[in-house]
Symmetry: none
Subunit: 221 residues, 4 copies
């Protein structure tokens, strides 16, 4: 029933915003302290230096706030439903941008494209479990495909989702902010799930036709 250290927490919260907005090198520890309402030496007192603050901020990003499980889906549901649940859960975090603690998502996205030593833990504890979960779902559609193919499927699903955060600023300029707003969580969940199901449910025989390099060599499978 102990009250958690408010200064340190506020510091991490402020650092999260700054790091997510500006990146590590452009973020100023002074700004972080001001934002946290703390003294300019506070980060050095609590974290040693800027880099350790960054590490702790990234770790906190998925320890404290990323337990937003997308799992309302029962395991007994069909694979399509599981995929839809996965996409929904994934997108819900990808699209979260205005809510409090949104910096956690933005910061983790930064780690995806520009990994730092801090992202090792991130991959191990957050991303890999999620990736394995997706692979399981996909394997129910394509039990005979090699891993390589499954990976490509997984990346296709993930890539579609992530794109809405990664390239959001550009997307806004391309189709306008209002139109982009209409591509909301429900719409995109439906779209991406359907889009992906079409490929996954296509008969394996059809699938094989598509490999131009192996047409003669691989007759029936």
């Amino acid at each position: 029933m102990e009250v958690q250290d408010p200064t340190k927490v506020r510091l991490i919260d402020a650092a999260g915003e700054e790091f997510a907005d500006k990146g590590f090198s452009a973020a100023r520890v002074r700004d972080i302290c001001v934002r946290a309402g703390a003294n300019g030496a506070a980060v050095n007192y609590h974290f040693g230096d800027k880099e350790q603050l960054y590490v702790e901020t990234v770790l906190c990003a998925h320890h404290c706030g990323m337990d937003m499980e997308e799992l309302p889906s029962n395991e007994e549901a069909g694979p399509a439903e599981q995929l839809r649940a996965f996409v929904h859960g994934f997108l819900s975090r990808v699209l979260a941008i205005d809510e409090p603690n949104a910096w956690r998502h933005r910061l983790m996205l930064r780690e995806l494209t520009q990994p730092t030593p801090a992202s090792d833990v991130l991959v191990r504890e957050v991303i890999r479990p999620k990736f394995e979960r997706l692979l399981e779902i996909l394997r129910r559609f394509r039990p005979d495909d090699p891993d390589q193919k499954l990976y490509a499927f997984a990346f296709s699903v993930i890539g579609q989702c992530l794109h809405y955060r990664m390239a959001r600023p550009v997307a806004e300029r391309l189709i306008g902010a209002e139109t982009l707003e209409t591509l909301d969580l429900e719409f995109l969940t439906e779209h991406i799930t359907t889009f992906s199901l079409a490929a996954l449910e296509r008969a394996a025989s059809e699938q094989d036709r598509e490999s131009p390099r192996l047409i003669e060599a691989k007759p029936s499978l």
Copy 2:
């Protein structure tokens, strides 16, 4: 037909590498000058300041080196072939990472996620034409879909491709560098084209049946 100032060119080239590697704020003008074999005051002499150097570097990234129209697809080909050609062309740039001038791609990718004032021109002159071209292709598959839906299709295609650059560091850790190598240009062109065609070629009637809120009602799948 004058030979361009070699120092200025070397400067932009060096700046491109630095900016692509480290981002704007983490890049050091001194490092850029050293890399270009120029004096420490060279960027200020040639470009005024760091920011203008960045702008010119970004502009050069698609003016000088983005002779990106490697699309050998004839207009008379079927839409599937056109899509394949588009994906192939897009992926070829996305996957280019080791070749000289690779910084141009990496730098533009940075602009996607963290747009700067310099990216306005980028969107207008490079990205939008490409996006429109993709929309044309997709519209031949789905002439009756609203724009909103077409945008979603386009983003699905683009997102799949871009993911292999955006999240490449993480992907390497997830499936291993060697396995990731096997997902090469040919393989991914085939995979993404097929994956997308499956969704695009599915009848619109099927498409519409998939209401996201009919989970229990969903009959067969």
Copy 3:
């Protein structure tokens, strides 16, 4: 007969080591506290500030631990024996370096070369009595010499002894640590006493003959 505050004592002991090793400004109060196993605010709590801690440490250096009067020489002994006893006592402290409380000696040596306000007391209570004692001894050799000459003799004796602490690091590099080890307390007591006696016992008449500006005149030598 109260047991003295153990924390305060440990603090002074730790401070002594730090100050003797690094000097006043390079010593860190945090390191002192850590070394004393006390809280980081302990020195400010017990001593007010760093400077007062230094003063108290210097004072303690000769109050508590400088039971330096190990001179077993009887007053009735000849002056040569008294000189030997003095040199022995002085050297024994000068050469003490590894024993516990060695910081007291090292710290006082620092005060010799870089005096601080704290060294006023040191001179008055420790150094001057010792100096006067040496002058008494020397005066028995040279009752007719002026003070100026006696001072020079005294400084010659003291200078020879102190050199083995002052320039010890350099001496080690010059002749090697092992060879320097052979110049131990007994050896040096003998050497310095003999060396000095030779000068002291030389007849004053001889002494005066040695005019520095009679280089050619110098007869035999």
Copy 4:
């Protein structure tokens, strides 16, 4: 005929004064820059950081200014004259305190008692040659003594000289500044030379009598 860089030279000069006065850690680079009339970033521009400035300052201390050779003594002079010349030359630097460039001496004295990595060069290039020179002189007095004994003689000579710099502040308080002034270069040269000659010229037979530990064991030699 090139004019030497004034800023860098002024910087070293100012640094010399500061370091000699306050030691490395207590010296402020800002003060050094102010004293040199240079910008606060000047030391970092010219030397990289404070530590490298210190090293260069120490090196400069004996490269540029320590070529004040005490050698007006001809090699053909007797050993006593050579010793006198050595003492004179050594003392002249030891006592130099008010003249310009005096910081060189004070700084090197600091290195004697508190050696830093920078003092390696100092020992090798400045101190050891001087020490060897002294040993040569002494060996002419005592050709049969072992090295150990010669070292002790050398340290006795050096110790007497150095004491007037090492403990000068304390000596002032002990005998008064005015009296200390009378112990000037000429007086001390004479005193220390005579003092040392008495010991050196004492017959070897006498010398041996003095070793109390070997009285019975070492009868005649």
